[in-house]
Amino acid sequence: MSDMEETGRTPELPEGSEVPAAPHRVIGTPPPSPRLLGRGDGGGEAADQAPGGGGVAVAEHAVEKLPTEPDYPEHAKNAEKIVVALFLLAFVAGCGFIAAYIGLGVHTVDKVFRSNLALGLSLSVTLLALGTGALIWVRHLMPDVELAEERHAMRSTDAERADFQEYFKEASGASQFVKRPMVRRSLMLATLPLAVAPLVLLRDLGPLPGTSLRHTVWSPGRRLLVYGTNQPITAAEFSAPGGMITIVPDGYSDDLDALAKAAVILIKFRPGELDIPTRTQGSTVVGTMNWAVDNIVAYSKICTHVGCPVALYEQTTHHILCPCHQSTFDASTGATVIFGPAPRPLPQLPLAVDGSGYLVAQSDFTQPVGPSFWERG
């Protein structure tokens, strides 16, 4: 039998030669396999959809019951051995998991490494063996079948809909909901406060912001401490040009809430490199050379974009880079923004020297630090 039709020009192929088979894709929906059962609820429509070869063979194979034996019994015997071996492996590995838990201690990094490796390996082997065994069981021990099931219409029938509407109307009428508007409206009114109450009860989640975002803990005379060592610092100690250090306010070195706004980055410039023009916002001075001491300048370390610490300082370019979103500030001109999403320069902390020679703040920042907010002004 040739699949090719006769035409005027194309001769028939010699008898017995095969048309090459179509490449059988194993990916994707498999074509119906030889044994095709009927619909789940009876009916033989699916029997007509048997694979190529015509309808002759179908009638013999259209069965209503699942076959109980695998398709290739010889291979099933091999497959069974493999499945049993895999399940036994899973058992052994599972016992190994428990043994590893009991036997391997922790409390040092090396021991944790060993324990994690042993537990993880044994558990992986258990699970892989179980999964592979189950899969080979399905694929090689169970007979290959395919069912076709009928889909039921999702839409209810018109009669069902009519019944529904009828009862709904009856019941609504009986409930008096429609006929007595005052009852209806007062009910809705009555439930309104209860609906709003859950939102109202959230009020005490936190204090109102008030003006707290406008201020930090920096105040006149407060000493600058080096973060970590919590030591105050003199201008002489911080005299190497190109120096940078992270600063926290005296008295608040452990207060994370204060540090989240008050962290400062201190930078030492060579003479002549620092050139901060005096800038004002309205009538407030927000940056000036007078606030630097001996070419040492202090900026807020809290990025004006969304608040990460701006810490990356390149002494050759005087750029301060925030590693979160790459906002870049030029430290030599008052931390003006030269790249990135930050909208404003870093606020400058006015510096002075106290009686003992330590660096102190002249006052708080003259503008709110950190990310912008609606009431910022």
């Binding site: 699949d3 039709e5 194309t10 192929l13 048309v19 179509a22 994707g28 929906t29 074509p31 789940g40 699916a46 694979p51 190529g52 076959p67 034996e69 944790v112 994690n116 537990l119 558990l123 992986s124 699970l127 999964g131 189950a134 899969l135 399905v138 079948v145 069912l147 076709a148 099931e149 009928e150 889909r151 989640l205 936190g206 204090p207 109102l208 975002l213 973060y227 926290v248 994370l256 809430d257 540090l259 989240a260 706004k261 962290a263 370390k301 969304v306 990460c308 610490p309 590693p323 979103h325 790459q326 790249f339 990135g340 999403p341 909208p343 990310p371 912008s372 907010f373 609606w374 002004g377």
Partner: protein, 566 residues
């Protein structure tokens, strides 16, 4: 073959007892025989499902040891490098789980990998559903539930990895608070209410904890249940194939086949997660150190599913308005709301937009091949490129370091690509889909080239073509040609224009409709073997060197590379 076993008494006894009370026999039989279609891409959603189950199990273990408190303690545990450091109890308990609880590190890692896998599989599953059109009627509600699940999963992951209060996740919370603070009018109140005061405060860890272990998982569990119930009730879609119609579902019964495969799948997913946890370290919080708002590291990225938000923040140039004592920072608001909002809102509206544009309100239980819906596929790929560019930009410092490209250059490339990329992707994808449709049409008309050359007695050479067999034909022909809606400006036979085609919206609808309706029609004359069948001299592929040309396909394409001239 007869069954030569009887059901064990224990099973039948218990079953009977239950059935006496629950009328279960019929329903259970129907369910056991229920047919589940078999395609590898249908298993992607289950990855998410089983990952969620594993998250619940490992999460329970972790919750038995974790202390959700910001109270400061001095660390004196097993990780001696940090001995003497003041940390929060949350951080300390996480170090404790890692180094002092057996299998603690493994559980932590499985939990975190499962969260990542949950989001990764959801993304791929969502894309599969989109590209095959499985969100169409009657499954729009399930699609919307899926989008909500995706968003919930994202929040759940964000809150979860913030619980240990380590440097990296703390930086993420700082960014979260900074964005929240920047929202006009209500931002500062929202930030202060969520954090119980100024950042970081003492309340955020316990609050995130209750959201993470109770409220959001409850919501996710409920939505997953609804999602599955709807899928079972409506039955799963199926791929186009011979025998698969809109009115049936073909596959294997639940018991024993699908159950066994599902079980095997669970074990494989669990195994994948445990293998990852054994050989790939995730979230080494002991290396990050505890959170301090003064500290930061380079390469500070959130988990990958937040990458698009991070990239949006990095790609945006500075833009802020100050007026009348108020400040709006667009460099924060636009990245936070627009890109991801666009994608999620677009996804949510897409089924309805497609219905509006195609006028197609019929049921669909057979999936589309992506090539047969060029506009849908092209839009999807454009969205993927948009998402991908921003996702890559989120890792811009790592890319700059790894690829040795200057830092700002990476950002500039992203700034351009975020607009150009999706546009180019849309155009290219649409052309590829149409090209693939042409290939299908050609297969239907001419059959498969077998590569066998035969010489005819008169000396001519022909290539033997094999017509597509019935299975292949069913797949190739499974293409709906969308109906054309009445164009705007057109009138029916009574001179009445269709109401839906009026106005600007009507014109837009016509444009959309024409775009969606574009398709390549295969001219199958029923033979499909590539020969003229006596109808004309135009026997394509008939002979190398023959002077007959090709039969032209409609649309002016279909060159198959053979020479036409003698």
């Amino acid at each position: 073959m007869s069954d030569n076993f009887t059901v064990p008494k224990a099973l039948s006894g218990t079953g009977g007892w239950l059935d006496d009370r629950f009328h279960g026999a019929r329903g259970l039989r129907v369910f056991m025989r229920k047919v589940f279609p078999d395609h590898w891409s249908f298993m992607l959603g289950e990855i998410a499902l089983w990952s969620f189950v594993i998250l619940l199990l490992t999460g329970t273990f972790l919750a038995l040891f974790f202390v959700p408190s910001s109270a400061a303690v001095v660390y004196h545990g097993s990780y001696v490098k940090l001995d003497g450091l003041t940390v929060s109890q949350a951080y300390q308990s996480t170090l404790n789980i890692t180094f002092d609880v057996r299998a603690g590190l493994l559980m932590r890692e499985i939990h975190h990998w499962a969260a990542d896998l949950f989001m990764a599989s959801l993304t791929i599953h969502m894309l599969r559903v989109f590209f095959t059109g499985a969100y169409r009627k009657p499954r729009e509600v399930n699609w919307l539930i899926g989008i909500v699940l995706f968003t919930m999963g994202l929040l759940e992951g964000l809150f979860g990895y913030s619980l240990p209060d380590d440097q990296l996740s703390g930086a993420g919370l700082r960014i979260f608070e900074g964005v929240l603070q920047g929202i006009p009018i209500v931002g500062t109140y929202g930030a202060f209410f969520l954090f119980g005061g100024s950042f970081p405060g003492d309340s955020i860890i316990p609050r995130l904890y209750i959201l993470h272990v109770f409220l959001i998982p409850g919501l996710i569990l409920a939505l997953i249940t609804a999602h599955l119930f709807i899928m079972v009730h409506q039955k799963h879609t199926q791929m186009p194939a011979k025998g698969n119609t809109e009115k049936n579902v073909v596959g294997q019964p639940f018991f024993p086949y699908f159950m066994a495969k599902g079980g095997a799948w669970f074990f494989f997913i669990f195994a994948a997660l445990v293998l990852l946890s054994t050989f790939a370290q995730i979230n080494p919080i002991w290396l990050y150190g505890p959170y301090n708002p003064v500290q930061i590291s380079s390469a500070s990225q959130p988990d990958f599913y937040m990458g698009i938000l991070e990239g949006s923040l990095r790609v945006m140039p500075a833009w802020e308005w100050s007026f009348l004592g108020h400040t709006i920072s667009f460099s924060v608001l636009i990245p936070a709301a627009v890109p991801f909002g666009l994608i999620l809102t677009g996804a949510a509206f897409w089924p309805f937009f497609e219905q509006w544009a195609t006028g197609d309100r019929s049921w669909h239980n057979v999936n589309d091949r992506p090539r047969n819906a060029p506009i849908r596929t092209a839009t999807g790929i454009a969205a993927v490129v948009f998402y991908g560019v921003l996702w890559a930009e989120g890792a811009n410092d790592v890319l700059a370091d790894f690829l040795q490209i200057p830092l700002y250059t990476v950002t500039w490339i992203a700034r351009v690509l975020v607009f150009v990329g999706p546009a180019v992707a849309f155009i290219v994808t649409r052309r590829i889909c149409i090209g693939l449709q042409r290939k299908d049409a050609e297969l239907l008309e001419h059959g498969l080239e077998t590569g066998i050359i035969r010489q005819l007695p008169n000396g001519e050479f022909i290539e033997v073509h094999r017509p597509v067999n019935e299975d292949e034909r069913a797949v190739l022909e499974a293409k709906r040609v969308p109906a054309l809606l009445p164009a705007s400006g057109s009138e029916d036979e009574n001179g009445v224009p269709a109401p839906a085609s009026l106005g600007a919206l009507g014109r837009a609808r016509t444009i959309a409709n024409r775009a969606f309706a574009e398709t390549v029609v295969a001219e199958t004359n029923g033979h499909g073997n590539g020969h003229g069948n006596g109808h004309g001299p135009a026997d394509e592929h008939a002979a190398v060197g023959a002077d007959s040309g090709h039969a032209e396909l409609p649309g002016g394409g279909g060159s198959d590379g053979e020479s036409t001239d003698s």
